[in-house]
Amino acid sequence: MGPIRTEEWKGIWVFAEQEEGCLSEVSLELLSLAKLLAEKRKTEVSALLLGHGVESLTATLWAHGADRVLLADHPSLKKFLTLPYTRVIANLIPQKRPEIFLLPATSLGSDLAARAAMRVNTGLSAHCTNLDISDRGELMQVVPAFGGKVMATIFCQKHRPQMATVRPGVFRKGEPQEKKGAIERVPVEIKPEDLRQKVIDVHWERRPAQTVEEAEVVVAGGAGIGNPEDWKWVERLAEILHGAVGGTRPPMDEGWISEEQMIGQSGKTIRPKLYIGIGISGVIQHVVGIQDAKVIIAINNDPKAALFQSADLGALADFRKIVPLLIEELKKRDHPSL
């Protein structure tokens, strides 16, 4: 492979992930981000839509920032499988030559991104928390390492496209605009070897209940919950998030949780992806047990609650009003990450 003339690669691509005709939110978030990057690069945004009978999604992609939709419609693309999807994308990349290609860091999106980058021999960064254009016009990709202890800026100088994945919720989705763009049907040439793998079944089922140390989501309550009736909100929120219930010492003393569920210096140390503390003042003995949580949300109506100092998001509000609304909102989705 000879060196690539990077100046010949133009435009920003976003992989529009869809499952059974539903677009994932993160795809729309990536379109908003791509629009900002495209303004800086004075270029256009294309959404890459693969599937079967999904043309109706085009309008949503335009509305969220796509100037053009590249549509690959084929029966073999109905269910997501990495091999046929990679075939379509890897054929298209050398033809269209995009400079940047963004994909959702979902389990399927990550797998697709990794295979496509390998096949077209380009660089790929994972789970970017920030993306911007450098003075030299290159994509600056900020990624975490060592569990977020260290951040690094990644560049892909000599290869194109510059590929990156982004987790859901990292960027904001823009308001939909009244906008029509272009649609371009792209050829789909699937080879027999791309269909070696078969989807036998898809279970949309809940993951089993876990302990606070193992759970990816922990919803914890403190003295601020006040009574056993209201404790049920802690449990209901944990249930809908497929998470575990934890707490501070007072709820254990009250008998609302067992000793195994107490979090902090004299209890469990947890490292979930998401911790939500409700009615918890945030004494240091509790905070030491949660500091490795990836995201900490505190809900409390006391502005002086110390937990706000250790949180990523603080909701200064009465949990009795907020949590029921939050549960209703979560019920509208098949999975909290979508």
Binding site: A114, S125, M151, I154, V202, A315, H335, S337
Partner: protein, 263 residues
Amino acid sequence: MNIIVCLKPAPDPKRWDSIELDPVTKALQRQGIPSVLGPLDKRALEEGLRIKEKYGGKVAVMAMAPPSAKDNLIEALAMGADEGYLLSDRAFAGSDTWATSIVLGKGVRKLGGFDLILCGSYSLDGSTGHVGTQLAEFLGVPNIHQVVTVEHIAGERLCTKSIVELGYRILETPLPCLITVTREINTPRFTSLFGVIEAESKPLIIWAAEDLGISPGDVGFNGSPTQTGDVFLPEMKRHAQMVSGDPEEVVQELMRKIRQALG
């Protein structure tokens, strides 16, 4: 079954607090932190051993790592692997996932054929989750990401249950193929004293770039398509974004943060 388990020794997470940045060179100071096998490495190996116990065959473990990672491979041999291969060369330093997959892929090819390769879904340190898939692509075989159960192997076909956002998928994949495993797949066995003694007599082979037919410029810092620019330590104390007032707005912000955490 000819099984290869790829391992990723990484600095011990218990010692990550002592990772520092050299203020001048901006290089990561992680010397003196011993490397360990991660929980997913051990689960990949455990699954490989269970498949061997059920279907017969051999389990080789392979890692691209500095020479000190020999200890991690010995641990894998003590757990039950039959042979170990350490791909180690200064030329490999600074490899991104693309280059790492090529080094591992050349190691696998030198080893000969295989039926199944297992890896952890994510490494402890970089955690990109890309190397398993990219290794499969390099070798031209299908892969399954984030496997929670190997259901069965029958007639050269592997049936697996793997995680997707909405739940699980059951996939059927022909051998040879590669799977990456998640935490839920099994509980790794403890190493027995007998295993430790036995490990001493098992083959542990070290291959350098030359042994794998790799030119130094092809991988490592210079061969990798991505380069690392600035490295920085994020502020550890968190600065909460505060929301209050309209409950609907508060809920929308909560939803966004929840999706960010779980994505």
